[in-house]
Symmetry: C2
Subunit: 392 residues, 2 copies
């Protein structure tokens, strides 16, 4: 039916897309701090934005455009253009009018400190350095990083039975949903698939639930969280299942990479909640676990403290009870429907699992069919250091 082939060309994987990152002097050390994505053909846009009420100016600017096609995204790091009121919107307009004539309905996206006006002149000068014929996805992916310790990209070509192909490529930033002052996660996805705007939005919404919305570093939602999916349709090819599978693989990979790169994180833990009364309850529990400070510090201490898992399930507010609950670390069941299994032998086994970089914690609530899987990391000294000392 279709075949997925992984590509290493990020947001330049789909035909007709160009991208690059340059240094405009926003970051120190001449690091890349501005990026563009350009398509020769105008694109349909699907998007998911933060639910934070203090929505940053670039998101308000995007929304005010109503229905539109674009061929250009301008992204800057170091300044979120959030809490900047009308001036924040005006600054975007000023900057976008200086772009070359080939640019149609450009979109801006920002990440960085909240509550400071954009350094307009630097950004306008920086944009003049863009060469729209460049295909440098790595430089673009590096430019959008803030506290990230590595850049994040993923791309697939989808090959259909009749030999036709389309591609999807993405880049993301965000050392987790953890740093609103730095404006947290951004993700840009480009495709040449011949997909309608409506269908693209529908699939993006659905896939977001189990990927970016299932990933947490500290449970905070920033002013700037953005996922944008651009389609220029130039491949002329499309297959819904193939598109959805590739997009899911891309977004799941990027979501997990963000958590793995969570500030100070040393572990990536998957919380598999099953047996809840319904999926919504399972989601509440899975997110409570990935956000619990007590669970996160126990992970950091490599302490198989299943009591904290049980207590967090109980504190989440959904229907649950100790008689039907079971808890496992990977495949090791440490608590089984009211039976205290945990002894010294089991502690040794459980401790070994806790020392792994990646493992799963499963909670079966034993009540129904509801299930949800979330991703989280531990919280250690490094998180405190990064977040306490950030501005000083």
């Amino acid at each position: 039916m279709y075949k997925l082939i992984e590509l290493q060309t990020g947001v330049c994987s789909a035909q007709g897309f160009f991208a690059d990152g340059i240094s405009a002097g926003l970051k120190s050390n001449n690091a890349e701090d501005m990026a563009f994505i350009y398509s020769q053909i105008e694109c349909e846009v699907a998007s998911v934005f933060t639910t934070n009420k203090m929505t940053a100016a670039p998101i308000r600017h995007f929304r005010a455009k109503g229905e539109f096609k674009t061929n250009f995204i301008l992204i800057n790091a170091k300044n979120a253009n959030a809490m900047t009121g009308k001036v924040g919107i005006e600054d975007i307009d000023t900057i976008l009018t200086t772009l070359p004539k080939v640019v149609i309905n450009p979109v801006m996206s920002s990440t960085g400190v909240i509550g400071v006006r954009l350094p307009q002149e630097k950004i306008i000068k920086g944009a003049k350095l863009f060469d729209l014929t460049k295909k440098e996805p790595n430089a673009a992916a590096k430019a959008i990083m803030t506290t990230d310790s590595f850049s994040k990209q993923k791309a697939f070509k989808v090959e259909l039975e009749d030999g036709s192909t389309f591609s999807i490529g993405a880049m993301a930033k965000g050392a987790g949903m953890i740093n609103p002052a730095m404006a947290t996660m951004l993700c840009f996805i480009t495709t040449d698939a011949d997909v309608s705007k409506v269908e693209m939005q529908e699939i993006l919404d659905e896939v977001t639930i189990t990927t970016f919305n299932a990933a947490s570093v500290d449970g905070d939602t920033s002013t700037n969280d953005t996922v944008m999916l651009l389609s220029n349709k130039v491949s002329g090819a499309y297959n819904r299942d193939g598109f959805k599978e590739a997009l899911t693989k891309i977004m799941l990979f990027l979501a997990r990479e963000m958590v793995r790169d969570g500030e100070g994180a040393t572990k990536l833990v998957t919380y598999k909640v099953t047996g809840a009364t319904n999926d919504a309850d399972a989601e509440v529990v899975a997110k409570a676990l990935s956000n619990s400070l007590l669970v996160k510090t126990a992970l950091y201490g490599e302490d198989p403290n299943w009591g904290r898992i049980a207590s967090t399930v109980g504190a989440s507010g959904v229907e649950a009870n100790e008689e039907t609950l079971s808890i496992s670390f990977n495949s090791l069941c440490v608590y089984d429907t009211g039976k205290l299994l945990f002894d010294e032998t089991m502690e040794v086994e459980a401790s070994k699992i806790m020392k792994l970089d990646t493992f799963s914690i499963s909670c079966d609530l034993g009540l129904g069919e509801g299930k949800f899987t979330s991703f989280g990391c531990d919280l250690g000294y490094e998180y405190v250091k990064i977040n306490a000392d950030y501005r000083t």
Copy 2:
């Protein structure tokens, strides 16, 4: 109408109440680890318990009794008797039957590790050391501590116009709502006021909202959280306003002391939220602020990062917008209804406030009359150390 006089005699302040703490070998170093409260006269009991669904055995045991009067509370530290199923209840029954004959309908309360059976023999032996003629409130208050770094007591005598008096005294443990594995907050309050059970419960419920339920160290709710208020009515005196004021002062003091003693906490911050659409919204925002990891680490770093405050307000989900929001550190307004005030001079002023041990952060949402005040602390390396290394 009435006068409040502070006493230094904790849970032995009200007439007819005895208390002491002894060492049963549950803690190391012969530290006190079991306490009792005894009244010669049977008491009405009002109570507030955890909302955690994994309710610990002592709370389930209490609830199963239905309507009852008691003259004895037995409290142990180091073991929460939580996630212990039916055996946990049976263990309580076994222990309580060994108490002296003068004890009527005894109640047990536990705090400590989750998921381990009570050390029955030690507790039964320990209870035999109790001397019911002792008035040692300090020893009792020390015995119920777990990760607390100091004991917490408060008491008032209420003097009415006719010269009659009644007293209320309390002790509490809990280095914050921060340590479910250690079973978190317990508070025991004794009074000789001639108050009905119904009225006592009504006032306790009301006062809990703005005191213990407004205090947070890490937003976790334990399996064992308990507030018990015992009245033996022996003073024959009562005045609702005086009773409520004294109880509020006691519970507010203890709630703030718990937060101040939050694991690794160096600051006590009061979040005053006003101008919300309604009180419920204000409560959501106030608790979001006191629980936000990003706000807590900024406090620890003494960083006047008002952008994180704004973002947390926005992320809380209630109605809010940047055009009507104002933020102050103590009386210093750092953001005023859409206007960016923050400059280097203000940063110097704000940084001075952030270096204080105790200060307030006010958020006026500018939308309505809703208000709520919460208490929180910072989160630093010491919190991670205590919680990551606890069992190792």
